[in-house]
Amino acid sequence: MALLEVKNLGISFGGLRAVDAFDVAIESGQLYGLIGPNGAGKTTVFNLLTGVYQPTEGKILLDGKDITGKKTIDINRAGVARTFQNIRLFPALTVRDNVKAGLHNGHRYSTVEGILRLPRYRRVEKEMNERAMELLKVFDLDKEAEYLASNLPYGKQRKLEIARALATDPKLLLLDEPAAGMNPNETNELMDTIKFVQKEFKMTILLIEHDMKLVSGICEKLTVLNFGQVLAQGNTKDVLSNPEVITAYLGE
């Protein structure tokens, strides 16, 4: 059974079909790409999968469980974490605290224990610090742990967002244009990191990307979206050589 199964997903905004009859099945551990021209509805799909928008029809199953129409926080708790196209960090928190915020649900103590600094506070905070540093190391951000997130250069901010998402211990990771605004060197590095995350964390990853080098380099399967509808779906190579896809991208 697929980890993520989406059937006939659709949403309208005041008569406009933003996404229509969207189907996808992603196996556990797969690295899956969602591509398409600007305005095709890719981010809308992400917003539907994470409960930012409520779908007008269709079903979303995660690990066999129906998560359709649930609230964002419940979907995150069920195991879906994401990053954003326009980076959304906590700029006034340190890099490490950004990751620790992601660890929020996995590591608990009560408000009173926190204020009075009881033993559990000390123990759990220590665990959180260690886990946060582990994650930061994966993304080579451990040296900047004490910087304010807003002081990081752009490429590192994108990585920090991924680290924060991973901190919630998800089953499925959604990356919205992770390479946007990166130079070729940074993109190469990012590709390695994503592959590393896939292997090391046994993570299932769905990503939106425009950088074809990245898509063809790491995605195992692809879905192409055009005008809110699935244009093509399948193995990366086959999809990218599909003449319809090429037309959609380059125009007639």
Partner: protein, 292 residues
């Protein structure tokens, strides 16, 4: 019949709120700031009329005109000295500065005129209207207030169609884009403050003609209520200010008459809270969605 007379009084008070609310709403729309000193401009305007009519015996209409000029200039000066340097700073910083300006105006008035309430002589010389065989009396002040409010609304709506009015709309929509299209943003903001403050002078005179006790703190509460009216109707919207002001005035007078004179403020604010909970951006406000 008494209900009708309360209702008319409410509309009259609401018209004053509406005129003050216009100042709030226009400034908020364009500068995205809560101009807390607006209420005190009303008070200054009323003092100008009080001093000139009682001390020099100036013709009341001339005094009102003078008051409008003084307040218009005052509004522009305040904007130039206190708010303009803070353009681009946190809205909270501008808010606190506006509070400082409000304290400043109140204390200047306190120094110049003292804390004792002055008894303001109405500038309205129109006789009261006797209807239904003396059962319904509408005072001259009420008539003038409502008519003034209607005239101001019509003129302002027409003004918004002119070039400077369009420039105002453009600046309130997007400052940067307006600048690129050749709109002089500084001048437009200055003009907005000028109009808002000039209207405040008129509102002050109308308010003091109906409620003739004038102190340095006179403008404070009506200012707050007018601001509430602006939010009520949907801040940034001119018809919203009219609607919010009138509804607020009517609720205030009716609750004073039928429920409790002491609790009327609590009722007014209570209704505001309920309206905002049902319609979070006010009656005529636009809903803004955050893009993800």
């Amino acid at each position: 019949m008494s209900f009708l007379s309360y209702l008319i009084n409410g509309i009259s008070l609401g018209s004053v709120y509406a005129i003050i609310a216009l100042g709030y709403t226009m400034v908020y729309g364009i500068a995205k700031m809560l101009n807390f000193a607006h209420g005190d401009v009303i008070m200054i305007g009323s003092f100008v009329v009080f001093i000139t009519t009682s001390a020099t015996g100036m013709n009341p209409l001339l005094a009102v005109l003078l008051s409008v000029v003084v307040c218009t200039i005052l509004g522009m000066v305040i904007e130039r000295l206190a708010y303009k340097p803070l353009r681009g700073a946190s809205p909270l910083a501008v808010l606190i500065t506006a509070i400082g300006v409000s304290y400043f105006l109140q204390n200047i008035a306190l120094l110049l005129f003292g804390a004792n309430p002055k008894s303001f002589t109405s500038v309205v010389k129109i006789p009261a209207l006797n209807l239904a065989g003396g059962k319904l009396i509408i005072s001259g002040e009420t008539i003038v207030t409502i008519v003034t409010c209607i005239v101001i609304m019509i003129v302002l709506t027409m003004f918004m169609k002119t070039k400077p009015g369009q420039a105002m709309l453009a600046v309130s929509e997007d400052k940067g884009a307006a600048q690129l299209m050749g709109v002089n943003v500084n001048k437009t903001i200055s003009l907005t403050f000028a109009i808002g403050s000039g209207l405040a002078a008129i509102a002050g005179v109308l308010l003091c003609s109906a409620y003739p006790s004038l102190t340095p703190y006179t403008g404070s509460m009506p200012g707050i209520k007018a601001f509430v009216a602006a939010v009520f109707g949907g801040i940034g919207s001119i018809p919203g200010a009219l609607l919010g002001g009138v509804i607020l005035g009517v609720i205030e007078i009716l609750s004073k008459a039928y429920i409790s004179s002491q609790l009327s403020d609590a009722i007014v604010f209570g209704v505001l809270i309920i309206v905002l909970l049902v319609k979070p951006t006010g009656i005529l406000g636009k809903k803004i969605n955050e893009k993800v």
